[in-house]
């Protein structure tokens, strides 16, 4: 009976994954992720670069579902191609990724829009609860033999911002929506994925931005489907 109560409690917790965490959770979660990232990577204070990325990021921000939201943009010194989103509203991009954008503002806006999509859709909080649910499932199933490991993993989840493929797809489409809303030609809206595909050195498997994402071909196909929907919708509106 004791274990039954335990299991029910954990199932209840898992059920909470369908319920939104309060907004302040994002700030606290973001704070932890910010601390972790700033410990692992050194932020770049080069004024020209920071101004450049902030200018583009703020342009994208104005075309999101939350145009009044304040986003912060930070460049991290790293030779890995990567970008991160902290639920507190900070978007991180590595110097290597920025360099490999080769001055393509549209592609850079796409990458930033993708990360801002994660923030606006609150993927981090959802992922955290999903993970907690999965861990509780393990506990429920396997009992005390998985106990310590599952709890340790739940703690680690707080510092992890890797998202499910569904979430990545949603963020890709968010980025495309923001770009088109800014007036970018829909044909160019998947430019950031094309750039990633053509980057000379991709990140090693340990990095998150590319590793946890579905393959780029599939991502481009998803984006192409959505752009097709836009064209169809526009045609319908014109004929009406």
């Amino acid at each position: 009976m004791d274990k039954l109560i335990l299991a029910l409690g954990l199932v209840f917790l898992t059920g909470c994954s369908q319920i939104s965490l309060p907004d302040r959770t994002d700030a606290q979660l973001g704070k932890k992720i910010d601390e972790s990232l700033r410990r692992d990577f050194k932020p770049v204070s080069d004024a020209e670069s920071v101004t450049y990325i902030t200018r583009i990021g703020e342009r994208v921000g104005k075309h999101t579902e939350q145009p009044d939201r304040k986003f912060e943009f930070v460049i991290l010194q790293s030779d890995k191609i990567n970008a991160f989103a902290s639920p507190a509203g900070t978007v991180y991009i590595t110097t290597e990724l920025l360099y490999n954008m080769k001055g393509d503002e549209i592609a850079l806006a796409g990458v930033l829009g993708h990360e801002m999509g994660h923030i606006i859709k609150r993927h981090a909080a959802e992922k955290l609860l999903n993970r907690a649910g999965f861990r509780s499932l393990l506990l429920f199933w396997g009992g005390d033999r998985f106990f310590a490991g599952a709890l340790a993993q739940t703690a680690n989840d707080l510092l992890s911002v890797d998202y499910s493929r569904e979430m990545e797809k949603e963020s890709d489409l968010c980025a495309v929506r923001y770009l088109i809303s800014m007036g970018v030609n829909p044909a160019d809206a998947d430019r950031f994925l094309v750039r990633l595909e053509n980057m000379p050195q991709m990140s090693p498997p340990s990095t998150r931005f590319l590793d946890d994402h579905p393959n780029l071909e599939l991502r481009r196909a998803n984006v192409a489907d959505y752009i097709q929907q836009i064209h169809s919708s526009d045609r319908r509106q014109r004929t009406q």
């Binding site: 020209e48 450049y52 579902e65 290597e96 080769k102 503002e105 549209i106 999965f134 007036g183 919708s233």
Partner: protein, 595 residues
Amino acid sequence: MSRTRKTQLFCLFSLLLCGSALRAERFVSSDGNLAFDLPSGWRKSAARELKESTIELTGGQARLAAYPVFSLTPGRSLTAQLEADRTLVLNNLQRPSGFKQLSGKNCEYFYFSWQGFSGLNAMGYLNCGGKLFHAVISSAKDFKELSGLVYAARLTARKADPDFSPYKIVTAGPKNSPVTFDINTGEYPKIEASEKALRLTRFDNAEMQIGESEMPLDKFDKHCEDFGRMARLANKWRFCCSSASAKTDCFFTDETRVYYAGAVNVPSERIAVLLASAKVTSIINKNTQNAEPYANLSTKLPLQGNPEERPLSSLPPLAARGMGTPIKLLLGILGLALGTLLLRMLLPEPDNAPFSLDPQSPYPLTIVRKYFSPDLVEEITDSRGTVFTSRSSRKTELIAGMFLLLFIFCALAAILLPLAGLEGARFAGYSALALQLAVLFMLAAALIPKQLFLYNNSQLVAYAVMAPVFAFQKTFTVFTSEGKPVAVIRRPLFRLRRRWIIAGPDGADRLEMYEDLVIKSLLRRVFGQLWGLLRTDYVISDGEAPCGILRQNWALSSSRTLFIGDEPEIDYRVVLLMGLLASRVDPDRWYPWIS
């Protein structure tokens, strides 16, 4: 002509002759860069026109060839170059010496030598006023002739010095934001570039090492105050240096990172010159290279307020995202659980006896679990309506479980409370204590021998006690209410099918009980009971043929029926105890907890 006059003319002529004989011939390269005051007997060796600073001389058997070195191979120091040359000589089965240095009036010669068939050979580099020449001397008579040649070498003034190519060194840093220093290799001929630092050595007496410092940026000013000297360079780099004896320590910053320069025999003025050439280039790559098929399209964002801008609401909405895999999995398991529970509730209990039963027999015995008790309590009813109650203490396990729950609660609180902006640190301490207590009680539960008592109207009928030994089988001794041992029930471990055996007091096996399906037994060990789906019935055998069965009933609560056809010559209460022990050791759980 007077005698005096003749003497004067002889002396003058002799002086002229001697002068011409003593005056050394000077050979100057075609570009006027390198010159040799040739010793007696030496001359230009080739009739062909030699370009730039190339010089080829002969003196008897001896030869000298010098060629200008405009740049060392990037990444290779002079020492490394000499080492490479020496390896070539070694490969020609010669025995070269170690590296040596000869200092003439104008030039220094860094070389190695070896004795050949026709004389002394040397190969190395002449450093004349910071200019490098690869110089090979072959078949010299002796060391005196060799050193004489070095002594004779000199750098001549030139209108436009062909300086060595600047040696660009890049320190570690993010791509396109390197710190670059333009170093004149002539000035610092020995250069070793590594990923973390650059090292400049003017041969063996000057050295400079630059690397990223551990010093945080905000400590830079305070540190420089201690040094007492700080300078701001034209390129906005700031640095400060402190000299102690021949060692100079400098810290400098570009306002993003702090670098350290440790220098030996390099004046701080030279360090300032070096730092003045440092610059950080932009992280933004301006070198736009469009990826196909966008080569001809703009990479710039459209201007703000352009006519193509449109509200997000005009775009098709995003499809609702499906549930995450863990949720799907969880829902699947919950559905399975509910289905199984419904099955257990709705399926009728089979009432047919698998064996013909003697009407006088106490069988079948129905065993029903009674919940909401700290002990494991089961009620047994025989065919005559006699009701027995079995009781087995499990308080230790309950306390262990309670602490386990407390541990989960505290650990989750310690993790989740900070997310809500609340203090959760103290729960981490509580969870650690709760875990320790849970482990303690789990150990105690494992060590305390299990006991099972059988009562009839609160009167003790019989009881079984597990032997407190660790072996490859669990052994329970069955006692009467007076404490007389009547049987031994044992369960061998590590069997594909769970098996229980009853032996008499003499040790001879009387009856055995084993699971009816191996596959269910194996699956249960992986997937747990699956709410009773993977429960097994037990077949009871007297050693020759099945004579009974312990059947798991389809019911919401744990319920079993014990049938014995041909009643064995063994007290039915002992058989009952075996069935109860099976339930005690391997209880029926309707949640998937792996036992």
